[in-house]
C-alpha cells in the first residue's frame, strides 16, 4: 500500500499521472483509442468466446444458456525481470513441494527433523494409501497452480498453492489468442513471450512419467463429463495434446492394468491426466457412490500399472495448515532461501499469535484451517462489530482450528468496466509443470475482481480474466 495516498499498488501507474515504464507504449496506444472502440472489441470477444463454446454450464435451462467468464481487453503486463523472479520462485516452491510429498509418503524425515509437526499426518488430505508407493520420477504435482498477489513494486506473496487439479490454463491460452486477434497492432509494439506451447510441454511431461519400460505411452485425460464446470478446459487440453478425453465409464481395470473401451476393443492406458478429485477416482477405495471414477483404479495405481497426474494425495501439501511450512520446506529440502514470500500467517495454536490476533481482529482475515471456498472465514475490515465478536468466541473455543493473516491490499490493474476504465484488484496464477524437469511457460491466468473495491477474484463470484503479457527484452 502506498502510505501517502492510501491507494493500493497499481500495475500501470506509479501515481495517477505517472505510467510505469513497461506500460509506456500501451498507455500511448490506449490514449489514441476511443472508449467506444474498446467496448466494441469487448463485445466482439464475447461473441467469439460464445461461438467457440468457452463457457461454464448452467444446465437445465431450456434456452441452453451457458455462462461466459467475463474477459477484460486490457492486459496485465509483467517485465522480463519481474517474470524471472516470479518463475524462479514458483519453480523453487514446486520442487520443494514435490520433495515434501515424496518424503511424507516415505521416510517422513521432515517430521523427524521437527520442521513440520507430526499432526500433519492426521490431516484429512493425507492419504495413508499412498504410504510407501513410488511414483515415476518422484513427481506428485505434475501441474501446480501457484496463486500470487502483489502489494508493491517488488512485493509479491504466494496466497496459496493448488496441487490437486488446478484449472484455468485454458483461459491463459484462449485469452492470448483473443488478444492477438483483437489487437494485432499491440503485438507489434510489444514483444510478448509466447505461451501457445503449454499443451506440448504438458504432453511431453505426461509421456515422461509413464512407468519405466513403456515404449509408446498412451495418455488420456479423465474428465467428470460434459456437465462439469471446467469441461471446456478438459476438452481443450485433450484436443491440443491429441489425446482421448475419457470419462470413468470409458475405462476399466483388468489384470493390474487400465484399459479404455474402443470401437476396436480394449486399449491399454499408461498415463491418466485426471481432472477428477481423489475422492471420486475409485469407488472401491474412496467414495463408494461415485459414478465418475473407475473401480479398482487405485489398486492398479499403487502397483505401478498406471500413472496418475496429479498423484493421489497431493492435497496434504496445499492445505492451509501445511502452507505455513512451505518456506521451511524450501530451506529443508533445497537448502535455499525462499524467493517468494508467504503471506505472514498467525497460527492460533500458538499463544503469542492468538493474543495478537484477538487484539487485531478488525484488521485481519481469519480462516478455518480445514475450510475452503471462503467458508468459515472472517474478513475483519469488512465485518461488523457483532460479527467480529461472534467470531472471537468461535476462535476461543478451538484456537488450533484457525489461522489469521493481514488483509492484503492487492494490486490493481486498469480494467474496462461500465463507467469506463477503472482500477480493479487482480491476482496471478502461473502454472508450473513437472516431469523430467520443472518449468513453466511465460504467462499466467490473471483474475480480476470486477466489482469496485472487491478483493474476490473467483469466477463464481463475478470475477473475470485478463491476458497476461510477459515481456521479452
Amino acid at each position: 500500500m502506498d502510505m501517502a495516498t492510501n491507494l493500493p499498488f497499481d500495475e500501470m501507474h506509479l501515481q495517477p499521472e505517472a505510467v510505469r515504464t513497461i506500460y509506456n507504449a500501451y498507455a500511448d496506444w490506449l490514449a489514441g483509442v476511443p472508449l467506444a472502440q474498446l467496448e466494441l472489441k469487448r463485445q466482439e470477444a464475447e461473441v467469439l468466446f460464445r461461438r467457440v463454446g468457452i463457457t461454464f454450464n448452467v444446465y437445465g435451462e431450456s434456452s441452453g444458456k451457458e455462462r461466459l467468464i467475463p474477459f477484460d481487453v486490457i492486459p496485465r503486463l509483467l517485465g522480463a525481470g519481474e517474470w524471472r523472479t516470479l518463475s524462479a520462485g514458483a519453480i523453487q516452491r514446486v520442487k520443494a513441494l514435490n520433495m515434501f510429498l515424496h518424503d511424507i509418503y516415505h521416510k517422513q524425515e521432515i517430521i523427524k527433523a521437527g520442521v513440520v509437526p507430526a499432526a500433519i499426518l492426521a490431516n484429512a488430505q493425507y492419504r495413508p494409501e499412498m504410504y510407501g508407493v513410488d511414483v515415476p520420477g518422484g513427481v506428485y504435482a505434475h501441474i501446480a497452480g501457484i496463486d500470487l498477489v502483489r502489494t508493491g513494486e517488488s512485493r509479491f506473496y504466494v496466497l496459496e498453492d493448488n496441487l490437486r487439479t488446478p484449472s484455468g490454463v485454458s483461459y491463459m491460452l484462449e485469452n492470448r489468442k483473443m488478444m492477438m486477434r483483437l489487437f494485432p497492432e499491440l503485438f507489434r509494439r510489444y514483444s510478448v513471450a509466447p505461451v501457445e506451447h503449454y499443451p506440448q510441454v504438458l504432453m511431453n511431461n505426461l509421456r515422461a512419467v509413464a512407468q519405466p519400460g513403456v515404449q509408446e505411452p498412451v495418455v488420456v485425460l479423465l474428465t467428470p463429463g460434459a456437465y462439469n464446470s471446467a469441461y471446456f478446459e478438459h476438452a481443450f487440453l485433450a484436443q491440443q495434446m491429441g489425446v482421448d478425453l475419457v470419462e470413468g465409464q470409458d475405462l476399466f481395470v483388468r489384470n493390474n492394468a487400465v484399459y479404455m473401451r474402443t470401437t476396436d476393443g480394449p486399449k491399454r492406458v499408461d498415463v491418466i491426466y485426471r481432472r477428477i478429485d481423489d475422492d471420486y477416482l475409485d469407488p472401491l477405495a474412496f467414495k463408494p457412490d461415485s459414478m465418475l471414477g473407475v473401480p479398482g483404479l487405485l489398486t492398479v495405481y499403487r502397483n505401478g500399472g498406471v500413472t496418475l497426474a496429479n498423484a493421489v494425495g497431493t492435497g496434504v501439501a496445499d492445505d492451509k495448515a501445511t502452507y505455513i511450512h512451505v518456506p521451511e520446506m524450501i530451506r529443508f529440502y533445497l537448502g535455499e532461501e525462499p524467493i517468494l514470500a508467504n503471506v505472514p500467517t498467525y497460527e492460533l495454536s500458538k499463544a503469542d499469535d492468538l493474543k495478537y490476533t484477538l487484539e487485531h481482529l478488525p484488521e485481519l482475515v481469519v480462516k478455518e484451517v480445514q475450510g475452503s471456498g471462503g467458508y468459515g472465514m472472517l474478513v475483519g475490515p469488512a465485518a461488523s462489530k457483532k460479527e467480529i465478536e461472534e467470531f472471537r468466541l468461535r476462535i476461543l473455543s478451538s484456537p488450533a482450528n484457525y489461522i489469521a493473516q493481514p488483509t492484503l491490499a492487492l494490486s490493481t490493474c486498469p480494467t474496462l468496466v461500465e463507467s469506463g476504465i477503472a482500477p480493479r484488484h487482480v491476482d496471478l496464477r502461473p502454472f508450473v509443470l513437472s516431469g523430467k524437469t520443472v518449468s513453466l511457460v511465460p504467462g499466467a491466468l490473471c483474475r480480476v475482481a470486477l466489482k469496485e473495491g472487491s478483493l474476490v477474484v473467483n469466477s463464481s463470484q463475478g470475477g473475470g480474466t485478463k491476458d497476461t503479457w510477459v515481456l521479452q527484452n
Binding site: R50, R51, V52, G53, S62, S63, G64, G225, A226, Y231, A235, A238, Q239, D244, L245, V246, E247, Q249, D250, F252, R254, Y259, M260, R261, T262, T263, D264, G265, P266
Partner: protein, 315 residues
C-alpha cells in the same frame, strides 16, 4: 476410437439429419395446405406428417385437434416430443459437446452456433408466417454441418461414424416418407393426372429435394412408379435408399476391418436388394411391404451397429 465417442458422433449426425428431414416434411406439408382443396380436412393434410415421424399417438394424447398450429408446434418446437426439431438439434449439440475433441474445431463451432441461433425462433409464430424461414434455416444448417464436417475432418473413424449416422437416419426417413405416401403412388385409374395428385407427388419429391432431379432424369409428367424408382433404386439420387447404402456399406467394411461382423452382413444384404432390385417386381410384391421390411432391416442394422461398436463391453 473410444466407443462412447463413436456413439456421440453417430447420434449427433443422426439427430441433425432427423431435424433436416422433419423440416422438409413440415415445409412441404405447409405448402400443400396453401393449395386449395389439397386435402379433405386439416387432419387428412397433417396426419401424414405425424405418421412419418412415427408419433401420431403421442400427438393425440397431447393435443385435441389436428390444426396447422398444433402439428407445427408439436413437430418443430415441442419440448415434450423427443423427435421435435427442437429436441433433435438440442440432442445433436449435446452429443457434439460431449465429444468436441473428436470433431474438427470448425465442425464443433458450427454446431454450437446452430444452437445459439436457434433461440431466435422461440419468439416466432411459426404457423402464421415464420415456418418457411425456419425450415430453410434448419435445412441450411444441416447442409452446413455436412459441408464443414466433410470439408474439415480427418478421414478417420470419427468421420466414418458421423457419416454412418447421417445415412442410416436418412435411409430411415426416406423410406418412411415414401411409405406414408405410398397409396398415392398406387395407380388409381379414376384420378391419375389430377391437379391435386400432381401437387402431392411433387410435394413428395420436393421433400427429398428430388423434384428437379426427377425432371432432369425423366423430363416427363410425374408418374408414381417413377417417383418410387427415383427414391428407392436410383443410385444417383442422393436421398434414395440405394444411394444411402452406397455410402453405408463401404463405411462398415472399413470400420469392421478384418472382423467378421454382423453389421457387414445386414448392410450387404440390404445393399444387394437395392442394387439388383427391379421396380416392377417390388410393385408386384407390394411397395408397402418392401418399405416396411426395409425400415425394420435398417433399424436392425442400427441396433447391430450400436451393439458391436458403440456399446462395446469390457471384453
Amino acid at each position: 476410437m473410444l466407443s462412447r465417442t463413436a456413439d456421440h458422433l453417430y447420434w449427433m449426425a443422426r439427430y441433425i439429419e432427423r431435424a433436416e428431414n422433419m423440416a422438409r416434411v413440415l415445409d412441404v406439408t405447409y405448402n400443400m395446405s396453401l393449395v386449395p382443396n389439397a386435402a379433405e380436412s386439416e387432419t387428412a393434410l397433417w396426419a401424414p406428417a405425424l405418421e412419418i415421424a412415427g408419433n401420431v399417438e403421442a400427438f393425440e394424447a397431447r393435443y385435441d385437434e389436428y390444426t396447422a398450429a398444433n402439428v407445427i408446434h408439436y413437430l418443430a418446437m415441442d419440448e415434450n416430443n423427443p423427435s421435435s426439431i427442437y429436441n433433435a438439434l438440442r440432442s445433436a449439440r449435446e452429443n457434439a459437446r460431449a465429444v468436441r475433441v473428436a470433431l474438427s474445431a470448425e465442425t464443433w463451432e458450427n454446431i454450437n452456433a446452430l444452437w445459439l441461433e436457434f433461440s431466435q425462433f422461440f419468439r416466432t409464430n411459426l404457423a402464421d408466417s415464420g415456418l418457411s424461414v425456419f425450415c430453410d434455416w434448419v435445412k441450411s444448417r444441416s447442409h452446413l454441418f455436412r459441408g464443414v464436417s466433410f470439408g474439415t475432418m480427418l478421414r478417420d473413424d470419427a468421420f466414418r461414424f458421423v457419416r454412418l449416422g447421417t445415412f442410416i437416419e436418412r435411409a430411415d426417413n426416406t423410406a418412411r416418407l415414401l411409405d406414408v405416401k405410398y397409396h398415392l403412388l398406387l395407380p388409381d385409374e379414376e384420378e391419375v393426372g389430377g391437379a391435386v395428385d400432381y401437387y402431392e407427388w411433387s410435394a413428395v419429391l420436393r421433400s427429398v429435394s428430388a423434384f428437379q432431379a426427377y425432371q432432369k432424369v425423366f423430363s416427363d409428367t410425374i408418374e408414381p412408379w417413377r417417383v418410387a424408382e427415383l427414391l428407392v433404386l436410383r443410385d444417383d439420387m442422393p436421398r434414395s435408399l440405394h444411394a444411402c447404402f452406397d455410402e453405408i456399406t463401404p463405411i462398415l467394411e472399413q470400420l469392421s476391418g478384418r472382423r467378421n461382423s454382423e453389421c457387414r452382413r445386414i448392410a450387404g444384404e440390404l445393399h444387394a436388394r437395392l442394387h439388383y432390385g427391379r421396380m416392377d417386381e417390388i410393385f408386384q410384391d407390394g411397395l408397402h411391404e418392401f418399405l416396411e421390411d426395409f425400415v425394420v432391416s435398417n433399424n436392425n442394422l442400427g441396433m447391430e451397429i450400436q451393439r458391436s461398436f458403440l456399446n462395446a463391453a469390457a471384453a
